[in-house]
């Protein structure tokens, strides 16, 4: 077996991907694929261009982004707060842990219809779903993280004369920040899952809403275009989250 130069892995991956697209396109043009189920790449591309050319995609993108980022921010804030409080106050941990464990065990997207009843079909129900997906993840990250703070670091700071505040500032906060950042990409994925599923269930705008529209009109080309778009959006956010993580965790 010949050894592959790992530096050029992306070239081979890209070439293989292009080849699959070419075969797909050719099969479509030769009439071997039903365009109703498997539209050729050129049709999907056309649908994608269509979405942008008349500008009607922007309000939908904005809706999904607002829901996902709102849920992400709220979820991290509340997750960190509850995680810290639960880790420091045993009484609170006793009450919160079972609830969080249950929420963690169920597929939280099943709460989507409930949020629609409670909060309507507007932005709020999507933010709520994003939020609950992210908050539970972050809660456990912080809650278990604080319990595992390196005892040696705590003792080091104490023996150097650090008080309680010094411990929070120099040991606990940086530890918590590093765990949250380590889970940031997963949280971003969760946030978009929440937003899209929420829109899928009941909404008047958003990428999830467009998806359900494409489904009900049996528009496979639009569906593929939307899936590609969501993929691109999440990849961009992943990239940004990755850079933030790399910068803030540069000591690691």
């Amino acid at each position: 077996m010949t050894r592959l130069d790992r530096r050029y892995a992306w070239v081979r991956q890209l070439a293989a991907f292009a080849a699959v697209l070419a075969v797909w396109e050719a099969a479509g043009r030769a009439g071997m694929l039903n365009p109703l189920y498997a539209p050729s790449p050129s049709r999907v591309g056309a649908a994608l261009i269509d979405l942008f050319s008349d500008g009607r995609i922007w309000p939908h993108l904005e809706a999904t982004f607002s829901a996902a980022l709102g849920g992400l921010a709220l979820g991290i804030a509340v997750g960190v707060l509850l995680g810290v409080v639960a880790a420091l106050v045993p009484f609170i941990a006793e009450l919160l842990e079972p609830v969080m464990t249950v929420l963690n065990a169920i597929p939280r997207v099943i709460l989507a219809p409930l949020f629609v009843i409670w909060l309507g079909i507007g932005l709020a129900s999507k933010v709520a779903l994003s939020f609950i997906l992210v908050a539970v993840l972050i809660f456990f990250t912080v809650f278990t993280g604080i319990r595992q703070v390196d005892r040696r670091l705590v003792e080091r700071v104490v023996t150097l004369g650090g008080d309680r505040w010094a411990l929070v500032r120099h040991v606990y906060l940086p530890s918590v920040a590093s765990w949250v950042l380590g889970n940031l990409k997963i949280a971003v994925g969760f946030a978009f899952t929440g937003a899209c599923v929420g829109e899928f269930v009941a909404a008047t705008e958003g990428l999830g809403y467009l998806l359900s529209f494409a489904q009900s009109t049996f528009n496979a080309a639009l569906m593929f275009a939307l899936i590609l778009l969501i993929l691109a959006v999440v990849l961009v956010i992943f990239g940004l989250a990755g850079r933030l993580e790399k910068h803030l965790l540069r000591w690691n």
Binding site: L160, G162, H170
Partner: protein
């Protein structure tokens, strides 16, 4: 323990050597009795087996940490930290995070962190166990020079008899725990200033080492019989 003297505690595992150090620095309450150092809390420093540097702080920030805890202004603390890093052969490494330092360098940073506090008493719990022999010899040599110069008293816990004898003015042997007690006391007549490596060739070294080894073996045997 006299001012500026270097004392080692040796003894079998489980004789409570580490607990003793932890009690002196206040990390642990003694089960009975009290610990008297006659020193303020900030005058006692401790060096642990692992360097326990804060991974998210640079070497300089790590060294400055204790200084700012004790009220020194941050800028002054950083300048002081740089001076200590230089004294420990780490000039130019101040901006590195611990992750990017070697084991020996991290140990030096940890040492700078403690010495910057100008302790009168330095406690050390097997501080060099994790270093390889050459790095260890060099760090130890610098440490000895610094504690001799600053007349810092040192209480070292180790089970490396050679380390105990070459560094100390006095060695104490603890018996097997629980209820361990000091059973022997060995003054080490090697003159100061010392070179810890060359101290091994001093005529007093070999007989002391033999005695200490025999006594320690007996202490360990007692445990085996008791078990």
């Amino acid at each position: 323990m006299g001012d500026g003297s270097f004392v080692s505690l040796v003894g079998p595992s489980g004789s409570g050597k580490s607990s003793l150090l932890r009690a002196v620095i206040g990390l642990q309450q003694p089960l009975a009795g009290t610990v008297e150092t006659g020193l303020a809390r900030s005058q006692v420093g401790i060096l642990f087996q692992d360097d326990a540097l804060l991974p998210w702080k640079t070497a300089r920030d790590n060294v400055a940490l204790g200084l700012t805890f004790n009220g020194m202004e941050r800028r002054k603390a950083l300048a002081e930290a740089d001076a200590w890093l230089e004294r420990l052969d780490l000039a130019g490494f101040g901006d590195r995070f611990p992750r990017r330092l070697s084991g020996g360098q991290r140990k030096r940073v940890a040492l700078a962190q403690v010495l910057a506090m100008k302790p009168r008493l330095l406690l050390m719990d097997e501080p060099f166990a994790s270093l390889d022999a050459i790095v260890r010899a060099r760090v130890v040599k610098d440490l000895v020079a610094l504690v001799e110069r600053e007349t810092i008293s040192v209480l070292l816990v180790t089970h490396d008899l050679e380390e105990a004898l070459t560094l100390s003015d006095e060695v104490y042997l603890l018996s097997q725990g629980p209820r361990a007690r000091i059973t022997e006391h060995y003054p080490v007549p090697i003159p100061r200033p010392r070179d810890p490596v060359l101290s091994r060739t001093h005529p007093a070294f070999a007989p002391l080492y033999e005695r200490l080894w025999a006594d320690l073996s007996r202490a360990v045997d007692q445990r085996v019989e008791a078990a």
